[in-house]
């Protein structure tokens, strides 16, 4: 036990004797983790944006005015039999007229023209929502069923496909450049950790040579460097985590106002914090340990 405590003590001595180099190393690792966290946030935001738009995609089926309620109901029952269909809403001609009047309440010309027509110009309408945007072509095809095809006047598919594609494209580009940034920061971090350990070995060369002479084991000499790598990782995760918790707390209401489904920033960076920061610590520690091991293999003669 006392040996382990001494090894930990030596690790902290290594850290503090090269404090500036240690701070640079922690800063670089922190930047890498921040870049990764920002990338994760962007992922959450684009997912929310896509879901938000997808929830607005539907097919609006307008029946001819001579179609009766049973035509609309039979079509709705037929469509609901498909597992791909999430919801079918029937809008009666009266409801359609009411909605039209409300929509154009400030436009007397439009309202007057409706009065002029004399009778309700709207037929039954179905609003169909699928489980996934991929299901809409199949639903449109199903509506071509001869049993009710002739009763249908129009099918309006507001796919928002262009917007979805644009969001996906921008998100992919952001992810791509974000990933390059993470890889770039990671490479710099690996090199900086390597250099820090190299300098630490140089600074402690006298101490290390004495340790060897008086019978310290290889494990005792090497382990402080590995623990120092864990200290770097822990501090980097702590700083980047604190920043992300603060950012998530501040930005969550802003994000939530943009998306109907609400923001998941707080839930992800605070609610699932153990998992997120735990994984980041494991990842950062593995990178630091690898870099330290390479530097020790090259420069530390035990």
């Amino acid at each position: 036990m006392s040996t382990l405590l001494r090894v930990i003590k030596f690790a902290f001595q290594h850290f503090f004797r090269n404090i500036w180099l240690s701070l640079v190393t922690v800063s670089m690792l922190t930047l890498t983790l921040l870049a990764l966290n920002i990338l994760l946030s962007l992922n959450l935001a684009t997912d929310a944006a896509i879901k938000n738009i997808e929830s607005r995609v539907d097919i609006s089926v307008t029946f001819k005015t001579e179609a009766v309620e049973s035509d609309a109901k039979n079509t709705a029952i037929y469509l609901q039999s498909f597992s791909e269909v999430r919801d079918v809403q029937i809008i009666t001609p009266d409801e359609a007229l009411e909605a039209f009047k409300i929509k154009h309440a400030n436009n007397p010309i439009v309202l007057a023209s409706i009065e002029e027509v004399g009778e309700n110009p709207f037929g039954y309408e179905l609003i169909i929502q699928a489980n996934s945007t991929d299901n809409y072509p199949m639903i449109l095809e199903a509506l071509d069923n001869p049993s009710f095809r002739d009763q249908i006047e129009d099918k309006d598919f507001a796919s928002h496909e262009a917007v979805l594609n644009k969001i996906s494209s921008v998100a992919n580009q952001v992810r791509f450049f974000g990933l390059i940034l993470v890889i770039l920061f990671l490479t710099i971090a690996v090199l900086i950790v390597f250099n820090t350990v190299r300098v630490a070995i140089f600074v402690h060369r006298e101490e290390i040579s004495i340790m060897r002479l008086v019978g310290a084991t290889g494990w005792f000499i090497r382990t402080p460097f590995l623990i120092e790598a864990l200290i770097f990782s822990f501090l980097a995760v702590l700083i980047s985590g604190a920043f992300m918790i603060f950012a998530a707390t501040v930005l969550d209401p802003v994000f939530a106002s943009y998306f109907d489904s609400g923001s998941k920033l707080k839930d992800f960076f605070i609610g699932q914090g153990y998992w997120v920061y735990g994984s980041e610590f494991v990842g950062a520690a593995l990178v630091c340990l690898f870099s330290t091991a390479v530097a020790m293999r090259k420069y530390l003669r035990v």
Binding site: S2, T3, R6, E206, E207, S209, I210, M211, R212, L213, V214, G215, A216, T217, G218, F220, I221
Partner: protein, 226 residues
């Protein structure tokens, strides 16, 4: 205790530090290894604490065969051999006591035991009132005595001293040699590597003379003859 059988050490095809050296040192002996610079004295000393491995031959220290020693066994061997160098090899940012404690700490000795051992070895080297001083606050002779105290901390069976008087004036050099003699009288085998004629002649102990990596003389009560 220490046995070298036909030991050769080659650093490169053209650099032969030791050639067919055979030597037997009995427990409790005080042996001086002498010779001019570059004759292989330090290489021989390094073989004794496994800092170097022989290119050929056998080096036996107690139960250890250095020529076949496993890397994980080297620290255990070094805890049984105290080593003293010309440049003292003290940590300047640690006090005298901390320097000695450091040697014990890195070997896994418990804190309570360290607190017992440090004053004991400081008393042996007559520095019991210097525990809180830093090496820079001590004279060269005193620093070497701290290095000897550190070497004694593990209660080694062998002390290897490589030019321990090289950086010291005559008075301090004699003090260090007298200290090594005192340690030897307690039963510790001492191997002294030196090219200090006066020290060797004053000792009147066994002298092994090296020349061009070979033993050219081995006398029980020898003198410096080069």
């Amino acid at each position: 205790m220490i046995r070298l059988k036909n030991v050769s050490k080659k650093y490169s095809p053209s650099t032969m530090a030791l050639q067919n050296v055979s030597l037997h040192i009995r427990p409790g002996e005080f042996v001086s290894i002498v010779g001019q610079s570059g004759t292989g004295k330090t290489t021989l000393a390094k073989l004794l604490f496994a800092e170097e491995l022989p290119s050929r031959g056998e080096v036996i220290i107690g139960d250890w065969d250095i020529s076949k020693i496993q890397a994980e066994d080297v620290p255990l061997l070094r805890r049984q051999i105290g080593v003293v160098f010309q440049d003292f090899k003290l940590l300047t940012k640690k006090t005298v006591s901390e320097n000695i404690a450091f040697a014990l700490e890195v070997s896994g000795v418990g804190s309570r035991r360290i607190q017992e051992i440090v004053p004991q070895v400081l008393k042996i080297v007559n520095l019991h009132d210097c525990g809180n001083r830093y090496p820079r606050q001590l004279s060269g002779g005193e620093q070497q005595r701290v290095a000897i105290a550190r070497a004694l901390a593990h209660k080694p069976k062998i002390i290897v001293a490589d030019e321990p008087t090289g950086n010291l004036d005559t008075i301090n050099a004699h003090e260090i040699i007298n200290l090594l003699k005192k340690i030897n009288e307690f039963g510790t085998t001492v191997v002294l590597v030196t090219h200090n004629r006066e020290v060797v002649n004053h000792l009147r102990r066994r002298v092994v003379t090296l020349h061009d990596g070979q033993i050219i003389s081995d006398e029980e009560e020898g003198r410096y003859r080069l």
